[in-house]
Assembly symmetry: C2
């Protein structure tokens, strides 16, 4: 499927008036900096200005390209595929009006024409695809930063919202695919592909339902054996399942069966949308982490909240070794607490954080660190961010800098160094939980 | 306690070098626009520039004020209270170094001196107080917008972080109090006070432990009978309780007992920090909402996620009346789903949203609306925000506009109209759950 996610050339079919779907996709591809060939196609011809460039619109496709993106009326899609089939490897069909509105026949025809030419189809009724490391943004959704997350979404709107929120959360993406009606390629195909894609460090999957459960379980198991697969299943409740049926036509099936399948396959199931981002952030940084956590904080309350959550999630507060405790006592002021959670108190500075982190990191009883900072007025959060960045430690460190404007500087510095911030102690604790699910036991 | 939260005059004691606690508090009071008298006091005299004003520093307090804010070394606090006792009604003791580090004797002395003069004490070892509607910011924490939430926090750092995050979440505050060691006034006193404070629409309480459980239960019950009280209890787990003991000296006690007490008193217990904000946002808008919710969305996936969460939280998807369904069918395109969740599909505009909301709102089976919008490229989120603002509906409406940059405009417009946005479908669903806990059954 490299022709979809690492194409050398693409053709876009549809209307190129401003605001039209094909125009918006073309603009996204040009503005995103795609370096391959871009061919807009419309029988009317003419030219189109997009992203500061003027492109000639061809009346028909007259040379071979890797991928076609199609946003023409549904009823002419099968004929178009039949016409351009010999020139393309894959087609992303954005057009709606197929099985999702009862036009099963039209969808079957589309698939038949594609099969005839050996063309693979994504969609129809989808929001498109991104191959971020090829700077290929073949969708009207907001562009994202390059990174390690491949997002596979059955719902186009969910996918679009997740991309935009991912930008806000500092997530980097390797790819995005909205697969709509899944007439040809479906979730299982994408799982298998991204499992072996070297730019993808983690996969996030939004599904309402799957058709071939057996194949899905196999694909999920394979992908999970290669890298973390985060799954958000919608349609878990009775009303939710009914809504899903009318949305994507998914027979959501018993949630219990899905749940068991996720667990069996070793996937990371998250409960809600926000958790999807948090898990993605965690796995962009680390492959896994053990269960024994040490909390380091400059503020008691948030330390207690983190501790509560860690314990509730089944993680352990690491029992520090006598040596660690002794070494901490050597330099920490007597008001500090050297038990886990370690409270460095409000005036903790660069040195106190960094040295504590380095000592704790060397303790064999410790698998991971959760570092909390609520900067008091007299201490810029940048200082503590530097301590986290510069501390010599080869164990996973999950960071919770609070709050808002107080830590904007520090969080920015952390993000530049590839360290993602979790905005509350509980969300940081949850990140460690997901990392622990990938730990070898 | 009006002299604390609506003072006419305050004196600040401590060092007025830049960066010193007393200086920072003085600066906050001046910059916050406090209109009463402000008297800095330090035996060295001189003057201090704060917030563009130059104030004379008095060598001793020589006139009566409502409240003294004290940030001098712990050991001289009792003598200071004894000296100024006849001139003040209340004192906020910021200074640390009392019972929290084992100096129980010094704390007793402080309380005795205060009692002798009939002075009430907040603290010691606290972060100060805000009386936001008096523009009185008697703390070094970040200033906040006026609004309906009174925040009572046992942990100063938690309080400070919550204020800053509250600013980001668009929460307005009536008051803030960090009560530290609670040598005199404690959580129960503040609950009783804010229960009757007319600027306070909801109370948020962070506690690790309370000393007088019986009095606390009574105060909590009274406050909850007047307005929503949101409680976040830290120290729930075994390790958390141990950490709390070393943080605030709280005997956290069995969490089960607290939990039962919260429920008995009718308080709203939240599980984590983020939920505290979401609940506060919900209660700043509405007093309560019934359990029968209608979801209106332009995007199937997020609608399913909201539905799942509502059902999991024990709320109901309202069964729409035949009349409602018929009236919706009259004008909605046939691809829309007129069952709950109502899917207005991607091209839903101002009119489609507004009219749907108004029809649903008139249905007797419906208690509350959850409105989701994931704006497609061709539709600015402002349009849908206007529909929400202008729809004639007297039932609670909770809004989830997604996502990030895509909805920045719309969310801004909503917030100006006093409608707070919940960033994910699940957080919006949870907001409705809390509102339902206050519904008369």
């Amino acid at each position: 499927m490299d022709f979809f996610f690492y194409p050398d050339s693409v053709a876009v079919f549809g209307s190129f008036r401003k605001g039209a779907i094909a125009y918006e996709i073309l603009r996204n591809i040009v503005e995103g900096g795609f370096e391959g060939k871009i061919i807009p196609v419309n029988p009317k011809g003419g030219s189109v200005e997009a992203g500061g460039e003027v492109l000639e619109i061809r009346r028909r496709l007259d040379e071979a390209v890797d991928t076609a993106i199609i946003a023409v009326p549904a009823k002419i899609v099968p004929a178009l595929i039949d016409e351009i089939g010999p020139l393309i490897k894959g087609a992303v069909v954005i057009s709606a009006g197929f099985s999702e509105v009862g036009n099963e026949g039209l969808e079957r025809e589309l698939v038949e024409k594609a099969k005839k030419h050996g063309v693979r189809i994504i969609g129809p009724n989808c929001a498109g695809i991104f191959g971020v490391h090829r700077k290929f943004f073949g969708s009207f959704e907001v562009r994202v930063r390059p990174g390690g997350l491949a997002l596979i979404s059955q719902s186009g709107a969910f996918g679009g919202a997740a991309l935009a929120m991912g930008n806000d959360e500092g997530i980097g993406f390797s790819a995005f695919v909205s697969y709509g009606n899944a007439a040809d390629l479906n979730e299982s195909d994408f799982l298998l592909y991204f499992a072996d894609d070297e730019n993808t460090k983690a996969i996030a999957l939004y599904i309402e339902g799957v058709r071939d459960g057996r194949r899905f379980l196999k694909a999920l198991r394979y992908a999970s054996s290669r890298k973390p697969v985060i799954v958000l299943k919608a349609g878990k409740s009775e009303s939710g399942a009914r809504a899903a049926a009318s949305h994507t036509g998914s027979l959501a099936g018993s949630y219990e069966i899905y749940r068991a399948a996720f667990r069996q396959a070793g996937a990371i199931e998250v409960e809600e949308m926000e958790e999807l981002f948090d898990a993605a952030k965690a796995f962009e940084m680390y492959e896994r982490a053990g269960r024994r956590v040490t909390v380091i904080t400059n503020s008691g309350g948030p330390g207690v909240l983190a501790t509560d959550r860690l314990e509730k999630l089944g993680l352990e507060l690491a029992p520090l070794s006598d040596e660690t405790t002794a070494r901490l006592k050597e330099f920490l002021p007597p008001q500090c607490s050297v038990k886990n959670p370690i409270d460095l108190i409000a005036d903790a500075d660069y040195g106190r954080y960094r040295r504590t982190m380095e000592i704790v990191c060397r303790d064999e009883n410790v698998d991971a660190l959760l570092v909390i900072c609520v900067p008091p007025i007299f201490l810029p959060s940048r200082e503590i961010a530097r301590a986290v960045i510069e501390a010599e430690c080869d164990k996973p460190i999950v960071v919770n800098f609070m709050a808002g404007e107080l830590v904007r500087d520090g969080v920015e510095l952390l993000e530049k160094a590839g360290i993602k911030n979790f905005p509350t102690p509980e969300r940081a604790a949850r990140a460690l939980r997901w990392l622990s699910l990938r730990a070898r036991s």
